[in-house]
């Protein structure tokens, strides 16, 4: 069975993609078939993922590789392949499970949409592309799926194409990630030039194995940084994070899929996958490329957490929290805690999907309202949503012991603490923990506590098809903590390829108390600051945020996303606009002039040749034809059609021959 699943790894991405194609061929009215097809494809992917997961449990550091030749040019063969190792297997299960929950939730959420069928086709395609990305054993294959994920995200963010803002957001997401992808592509080319292979693992000669790495040496840093550009784009790291909050324009399940399972996870996954490139030649696990990763991560995490505090859109808050968490994961990878980073990615996948679906449920209940200041009191109206949302919130904030996010966050903090180069990231991360707890508390208070406001008065609980995935994900978010506890660090060991040992003593560590204190401080601060916000007048929306009241300038700075978009607008976009104008001008006057000049020269030459042609060659030909025709006319006169004339001519000819003979002798 083991070898069976390994040779058939390609089926895992192929089946959802095939389902997507099948759904695309359906008519718009076949809603039920579309949903069923998509869910069946996803269930199949989940089943296969679990089958693929099982053999990886049996041995430590399991790794199975299935390579094949794509095409051959000259004596070079371009080979692609699939790899199954703990990293891929864990990601597979998480993606397909979270994806399945999101698919089922979408059936309820998108029930009223006229493009229901198209939506499920894209969703399946998105999921299939991401599963393929995880399984790729070649940087090229990974890149192919990477771009497919980008395409799917473009299609889904811009799903409501009739909205100009959605179209703009889709374009922004596509173009911003493309900037990173260019770096990725350059890195890939460089890597291929140096090592001659793009396969990760190839029986010792892959580019991530010692023989392949030995060929890189000094260039590894640059290759790693170029590849990291791609990861920055995909995972929304500063300065390429701007697309991620705008991606909220898509339907909420899409946001859930992008933020939890598929799109943004790809960047972190990529760094983890090519980690040997980053850590090559490091002392104590510190290299210049990893340092860059750490600082980018720290900047992103703090900045996004700060911005999240001042946002009013329920989904934007979550979006910035995703950016922040991704920064955290990058920090973890950068300081050497690969397993911790991936664990956090997995845990984050569950609870962020839960939060997004919960927010989707809230939006659905409030007739499409996104503004948290217009909500309130939903605790009573939407109890299931409230409970599951609270679970997600506590997991995200990192409340210890029972919620998955807590353990992984502590792992990351522990790894950061021991980073030899600097302690600054550690303290900044601690501040980030407080901020996370603060903005989540703010959101919960605004949405679920206090009096009902404008949008939440007629709110209702969502149908079962939407609440069931919420409950399932909430249960996952809690139970996932079991495999994450330091007492039995099974997942950690699994990812690192070590056997796990059970030790209750590790449950009580200083980090737990630090975490407890910080999270408590964050939540307490939140409750204190926003205590009045929930109790505001039921008719009036809470226009003035307490923070805005206290620090209006700071709040405006944060609410406007630190004016980064405006900065880009003034700099990058102005520059590109100017460049476009310049190119336009150049094109219009310079190049066009050149082209016209060449055209004129050509025309003069053509005139010359025409006259030569007409007066020289043509006249000659004309003369010849006229002569031939005249001769023909003359000759045809001789053809009287009279047989006897011809006969007479024959006789005369004979006579002439005779006379000639006589004359000659």
């Amino acid at each position: 069975m083991n070898s069976g699943i390994i040779t058939n790894l390609w089926l895992i991405p192929a089946v959802p993609c095939a389902a997507s194609l099948a759904i695309l061929s359906l008519s718009n009215a076949r809603r039920k078939s579309a949903a069923v097809l998509a869910v069946i494809g996803q269930v199949f992917a989940l089943g296969m993922s679990i089958f693929a997961f099982l053999p990886t449990l049996q041995t430590n550091s399991f790794r199975a590789v299935q390579n094949f030749t794509w095409f051959t040019f000259g004596d070079q063969a371009l080979r692609l392949g699939f790899v199954l190792d703990p990293l891929a297997a864990a990601m597979l299960v998480m993606i397909s499970l979270v994806g399945l929950c999101i698919f089922i939730f979408s059936i309820g959420y998108m029930a009223g949409d006229k493009n229901f069928v198209r939506f499920f086709a894209y969703l399946s395609f998105f999921s299939g592309a991401m599963l393929g990305l995880v399984l790729a054993n070649s940087l090229l294959l990974l890149f192919i799926f990477w771009e497919l994920v980008g395409l799917a995200s473009y299609l889904l963010i811009g799903f409501w194409i009739e909205r100009p803002s959605a179209a703009a957001a889709a374009k922004k997401a596509f173009i911003t990630t493309r900037i990173g992808d260019m770096g990725f592509f350059l890195g890939m080319l460089w890597l291929y030039k140096r090592s001659g292979t793009l396969l990760f693992y190839d029986g010792g000669s892959g580019c991530l194995e010692s023989a392949g790495l030995a060929t890189l040496r000094a260039s590894a840093t640059f290759i790693a940084l170029l590849i990291f550009c791609g990861a920055m784009g995909k995972s929304g790291q500063f300065p390429l994070h701007v697309w991620l909050p705008d991606a909220m324009e898509g339907p909420t399940p899409v946001s859930a899929l992008i933020h939890a399972a598929t799109m943004v996870a790809a960047g972190v996954f990529l760094v983890a996958r090519v980690y040997p490139l980053f850590s090559l030649g490091g002392i104590n696990g510190v290299t210049s490329s990893l340092t860059v990763v750490v600082w980018i991560g720290v900047t992103t995490a703090l900045m996004a957490a700060l911005i999240a505090i001042a946002q009013a859109d329920i989904k934007r808050i979550l979006a910035y929290s995703t950016v922040s968490q991704l920064g955290l994961m990058m920090v973890s990878l950068g300081v050497g805690g690969v397993a911790a980073g991936i664990m956090h990615l997995l845990a984050h996948g569950f609870f962020k999907a839960l939060l997004f679906l919960g927010s989707g449920s809230v939006i659905h209940g409030c007739q499409g309202e996104h503004d948290i200041r217009k909500m309130g009191g939903l605790r009573r109206l939407m109890p299931v949503t409230f409970v599951t949302y609270a679970v997600g919130m506590m997991a995200l904030s990192g409340v210890p012991f029972f919620f998955s996010g807590a353990w992984t966050k502590e792992e990351i903090l522990r790894a950061t603490e021991h980073w030899p180069r600097s302690h600054a990231p550690y303290f900044l991360m601690l501040a980030g923990v407080v901020l996370t707890a603060l903005y989540m508390t703010r959101q919960i208070i605004y949405v679920f506590f206090g009096n009902s406001r404008v949008a939440s008065e007629r709110a209702h609980e969502s149908p079962r098809v939407m609440t069931m995935p919420l409950i399932a994900l909430a249960v996952c978010a809690i139970f996932f903590s079991v495999v994450l506890t330091p007492a039995w660090p099974w997942l950690h060991a699994y990812l690192r390829g070590e056997p796990a040992q059970f030790d209750v003593a590790r449950l009580i560590q200083p980090m737990v108390f630090v975490s407890l204190v910080l999270v408590g401080a964050g939540i307490g601060l939140g409750i204190w600051v926003y205590r009045k916000a929930g109790a505001q007048d039921r008719q009036r929306s809470a226009e003035i945020d307490p923070l805005e009241y206290a620090q209006p300038a700071l709040f405006r700075f944060l609410a406007n996303k630190m004016w980064i978009d405006e900065l880009y607008g003034r700099t990058v976009i102005t520059f590109s606009w100017a460049a476009a104008r310049l190119s336009d001008w150049m094109d219009r006057y310079f190049w066009d002039g050149l082209v016209r000049g060449f055209g004129a020269v050509g025309r003069v030459f053509a005139m010359l040749t025409t006259s030569v042609d007409e007066h020289g060659i043509n006249a000659g030909v004309d003369e010849t034809t006229a002569g031939t025709r005249g001769l023909g006319r003359l000759m045809s006169k001789a053809h009287s059609g009279q047989i006897q004339t011809y006969l007479a001519a024959l006789a005369v000819g004979m006579l002439a021959l005779l006379l000639l003979y006589a004359w000659l002798g």
């Binding site: 007479a648 005369v652 006579l655 005779l658 006379l659 006589a662």
Partner: protein, 160 residues
């Protein structure tokens, strides 16, 4: 070889030929044509090629002359009209005759008397036809068949 016979045959042949060429009535011309060919056959006998002479009589007088008569009869309606005579043809013919005669007389090697030869038997002709000339014979057979079919197809009444 008999000189008197030669003169008689020559006069007969040329007179009949001239009649065939100039007589106004077509039927008379056709009959003169037959007489002229009798004269030619007589020449062949005189020259010792009896088989060829006989073949000439059979073919020309027996077949071609009859064909001509038939054709005349089939196109009778048109025949009776007088068409006149093209005198330029006479000039050319006389010129050709003069030229040929001058060339023949000029060539001295032609003024020879016939040698004595063994009689040409039909057996020898038959042997030659069936041995050295078997391929030309076959080709002639094919040609005659083709001419037969072609003449039939041409002359057949078209269906409307």
């Amino acid at each position: 070889m008999n000189g008197a016979a030669f003169i008689v045959i020559s006069i007969l042949t040329l007179a009949a030929a001239l009649a065939a060429a100039t007589l106004r009535k077509l039927m008379h011309a056709a009959l003169s044509f037959a007489v002229a060919f009798v004269g030619i056959a007589a020449f062949f006998f005189l020259l010792g090629a009896e088989f060829v002479g006989l073949a000439l009589v059979f073919i020309y007088i027996g077949a071609v002359a009859v064909l001509i008569v038939f054709t005349i009869l089939l196109t009778r309606r048109d025949i009776e009209k007088d068409r006149g005579f093209n005198w330029s043809g006479v000039i050319i013919a006389v010129a050709v005759f003069c030229g040929l005669t001058w060339a023949i007389l000029k060539t001295a090697s032609l003024s020879i008397v016939a040698p004595h030869i063994r009689a040409l038997t039909v057996k020898r002709i038959g042997e030659a036809l069936m041995t050295s000339y078997v391929w030309p014979l076959q080709c002639i057979g094919l040609l005659l068949t083709a001419a037969l079919i072609g003449a039939l197809v041409l002359a057949m009444e078209e269906k409307r």
